[in-house]
Symmetry: C2
Subunit: 419 residues, 2 copies
């Protein structure tokens, strides 16, 4: 039995490297401590491309959208950007005209420091909703970050560490840094890709409080980049669920500055696209693994579905079920909850054909419980990583969703977030 | 400001009485301990009508349906029933032909003991999924319950206590008994209504693991009864959310045996319908209040919505948000989460017109935060009952949803449910 079904698995050719979003040629990144909400916390991230970059973004589908997100959508309408500025500690959401002005001020400061047009700046924020952004502290942070970027010139050995600070600066209740970088050798030379993300609570399909920023030195037209990002997000970030809530602020943006001089085509495009998707899946898994209060990582694969949409819907429903998540926390092989969560997903399937596996242990066949070794099941559930497979025997489509268990710690974190 | 909007509030004429589902004329009910899962726990409930009753039911919309539920749907197709048998401790779900046979055996035993056709028996189960129902113990319990009903004849002072045991017998992780009874004086005499319910975890719109049974001695044709039950369930049971999961087993059934000799018409029908809805809202609120691990009762009212469907969708989304629920547990006035949960409900509205109140404290206006007294907000949130009001200024529709906070105890209960 094959319980995993990673998008991009089996594809290959790229290899991990250091350097995060600063790894691709022509990109510089850093993070500084500006005291937005806390002292001694990196909270302003700045990413700069030496050349104007082609740009694409995907955004929260929440009806309530934060001010920086609305500004970024406008700025990316022409498919071009050259810098990304992010603050953590304040969402700059639900603040009216004052919030729009605060987001615009972030773009203006960044543009002035880096010698760009404000329209070429991507602005993002994450943190508490409905509290005024401390604009002066944020602007001072942008000035400091830009200075650090200038000071990096010629110091190649410090670039990776600086880029790592950008990854630190976008974190909120995250407990781990989410950062990847790859390089892909192609016929004409090497293409690089870097990515950072933040996740933790409120993560759910459709970009629930999640930020992701990708950089690449490949040359890719904005329209193609947009299509690729949308596909990649569908099978990565949108397959992560921590608590079913979605946020006002979240976005994933990719910049492609072409500094490698390579524009992947044909089979090389497929390799490049595979690398982008793999990076998104990596970041998505890191987000799921670091769900607020999580003690376990949950991977739910639905196979044999009638359509990809059904497979995704069912996998997300199981992964997001409070009862399934609490059972995983308790290491209780309560497979009935898995089938029940599939049943209320909204997708059509025939429950009397469904097989269920917990790790390698089959617990249900054709919609009915099987006698299984509680001891073996306990071993599967005692592990930090738990794989669940639902085989529907309804078609050929498959999808995987990632999440985490529901713990006492989640409740504690979210009972006191604002204060 | 008016924060409450109880369906049926203000209507009147009925008054509470004792006796639960045994209160209406011609109904007898009891519960016994059959050791289905635990010893010394009432776990078989039996409700019997002296006369064949008109009957209506609403059922879970989960694609995965338990065996007793499928049987009951068949039995109620003709709109008639004369007894209800329920076991707790085992859901009799996902068991294949063996499960169908177990449900049929419950109907046959009940019919044999009470001298009815099996098709006139409503069967319901609640408990763990995927474990064989201990049919012999259940049948022995049915025999014992039927004997108790016969022994009640002539002992009117024991009827209420016996009916109360039926309410006890349908409980699982419930910590409180959910039981109501009303009488309504009409021109031709008095009509009575009784109801019991079970709830706790897994409660959500569309009948998530919830059982409800109503009895009335009014004469109401099955088709009219069905329409009334559907309306009543929409604004009561379907507006309760505890954890977003829905179940395989849940149903609400009403029997009307006509023993009062009264068939309410016109204005009296409106009164009768109001009483049925009020009973359903009472039971729904008891369920929300007793959500697994709940420490607080949450009432979310959405006013000024463009449509009733939108108002309900938004109210349920807020009430079901893990982040809102955890904030209520932590007594944190994090109103941004309320607006965000409205934003991902799927209903259309204009967030820049939305006002938000926590109890009497307005915390946001036109989609933006207001300066408010943290002290006053703390007082509101420190109470056991918390009311949230979202005024959309988008139309005339309003709806109220009920739920509870998300607590450490919820996680504990659901981590160990099966064992």
């Amino acid at each position: 039995m094959n319980t995993t079904n990673f998008p991009g698995e089996g594809a290959a050719g790229w290899r991990p490297i250091d350097g995060g979003v600063g790894a691709p040629q022509g990109f510089w990144a850093t993070g500084v401590m500006a005291g937005v909400k806390y002292q001694n916390k990196y909270d302003i991230a700045l990413i700069f491309s030496e050349q104007p970059a082609q740009a694409a973004g995907v955004y929260t589908r929440n009806l309530v959208k934060a001010h920086p997100l609305l500004l970024t959508q406008k700025h990316l309408a022409n498919g071009q950007a050259q810098a990304i500025v992010v603050n953590s500690g304040n969402a700059n959401a639900c603040m009216g005209p004052q919030g729009d002005e605060a987001a615009a001020a972030m773009a203006r400061s960044t543009a002035a420091e880096l010698g760009l047009a404000p329209e070429d700046v991507v602005v993002a924020s994450t943190g508490v909703i409905g509290v005024p952004l401390p604009v002066e502290r944020v602007q001072a942070g942008i000035v400091a970050a830009a200075r650090e970027l200038r000071e990096l010139a010629g110091k190649d050995n410090e670039r990776a560490e600086a880029a790592h600070q950008a990854a630190l600066a976008i974190m909120t209740t995250d407990t781990t840094v989410k950062e990847v970088a790859y390089e892909l050798p192609l016929a004409g030379g090497t293409v690089r890709l870097g990515g950072i993300a933040k996740g933790s609570g409120m993560i759910h399909p459709n970009m629930g409080t999640m930020l992701g920023f990708l950089t690449t030195d490949a040359a890719v037209p904005a329209s193609r980049l947009q299509e690729l990002l949308r596909e990649a997000a569908e099978e990565s970030f949108n397959m992560v669920t921590v608590d079913g809530d979605t946020s006002t602020n979240d976005m994933v943006v990719v910049l492609a500055n072409g500094c490698s001089g390579i524009s992947p085509q044909g089979a090389e495009w497929q390799q490049f696209a595979g690398m982008v998707k793999a990076a998104c899946v990596d970041l998505a898994q890191m987000i799921a693994r670091d769900g607020e209060g999580a003690s376990k990582f949950l991977e739910v694969t639905v196979q044999g579905a009638a359509s990809l949409a059904s497979a995704r819907q069912i996998a997300r429903s199981i992964c997001g079920s409070s009862l399934v998540k609490a059972a995983m926390f308790g290491e209780d092989a309560n497979w009935g909850r898995i089938l029940a969560a599939a049943g209320y997903s909204g997708a059509e399937f025939d429950p009397t054909k469904a097989d269920i596996y917990l790790g390698h242990v089959q617990v249900a066949q054709a919609g009915q419980g099987l006698p299984f070794s509680e001891e073996e099941a306990k071993k599967v559930l005692a592990a930090k990583d738990i794989k669940v497979l639902l085989e529907l025997h309804d078609g050929q489509a498959a999808a995987t969703a990632w999440g985490c268990d529901l713990t006492h710690e989640y409740v504690t974190i979210n009972g006191k977030y604002r204060t």
